[in-house]
């Protein structure tokens, strides 16, 4: 049988596998990573606006300060903290720590809560 005709294991998203907390966190890591890449557009826009002088800097601040801009920035903040926290979790795995199911679930919840708390904390500081 040629290599490209061999049966493939079904894709993780779909009716084949029951979603688990750890698998949902795993795909969220990729989703937030891709989302952050799109978010760099906002960062580059802002820096470029600042480079063009005070006028466009002000305009850039207004764009980011708008409702839509703030919503994007809020989601971006959460994605950033999530990706960072889960990235640290991955680094511990790379070092060979925390592979037991119980530990992986625990560190997973740690990632979820720390990303939420850090995001809220950031926006509380920004709002004050």
């Amino acid at each position: 049988m040629s290599a490209n005709k061999r049966p493939l294991s079904p894709f993780m998203i779909g009716p084949y596998y029951k979603p688990q907390m750890t698998s949902v966190l795993s795909i969220t890591h990729r989703a937030t990573g891709a989302g952050l890449v799109v978010g760099t557009l906002l960062l580059v826009y802002w820096l470029a606006a600042a480079a063009l002088g005070p006028e466009s800097y002000k305009h850039g601040q207004a764009v980011i300060g708008s409702m839509l801009g703030q919503l994007f920035l809020f989601l971006w903040t959460w994605a950033l903290f999530y990706h960072m926290a889960n990235g640290i979790r991955h680094l511990f795995w790379d070092a060979g720590c925390g592979f037991e199911m119980e530990q992986a679930t625990k560190s997973g919840w740690w990632v979820v809560w720390s990303s939420i708390i850090l995001t809220v904390l950031c926006w509380l500081i920004a709002g004050s």
């Binding site: 891709a34 600042a50 800097y57 601040q61 680094l91």
Partner: protein, 125 residues
């Protein structure tokens, strides 16, 4: 059609000798990004909303400009490595994967260049 197995076709060609480089650089950039992201977020909490002169003064300090450029280089390199893995896993047929990869690479390089030039322009103004 060849009767030789796919494995036989590549045997003896040798390894590319850089199989672990992608994986390793992803880790190196991710470790570097931990302190850089913390610095960036803390700085932006304040400096994203100040007047132009204050922002310009802040970014014109060599340490801040240096950190910002380092942050940008690391972010865009890490982004390229990460997007590559996503495309390699999910985008088929293969040519579409290469197209997506090339377009993303070019776009990320350009975005990084624009961002860094902007920082330098502000810092050296």
């Amino acid at each position: 059609m060849s009767l030789r197995t796919p494995l036989a076709l590549v045997r003896g060609l040798g390894a590319a000798k850089d199989g672990t480089h992608h994986w390793w650089m992803q880790r190196v950039t991710s470790i570097a990004l931990i302190p850089l992201v913390v610095w960036f977020v803390f700085s932006m909490l304040f400096y994203s909303r100040v007047e132009y002169a204050v922002f310009q003064h802040w970014l014109s300090k060599p340490l801040n400009a240096g950190l910002m450029v380092t942050f940008l280089v690391t972010v865009f390199y890490h982004a390229k490595l990460g997007m590559q893995v996503i495309y390699e896993d999910y985008v088929r047929p293969e040519w579409a994967m290469y197209v997506a990869l090339l377009v993303t690479q070019f776009a990320l390089f350009l975005l990084g260049a624009i961002a860094i030039i902007s920082v330098l322009k502000i810092a050296l103004a």
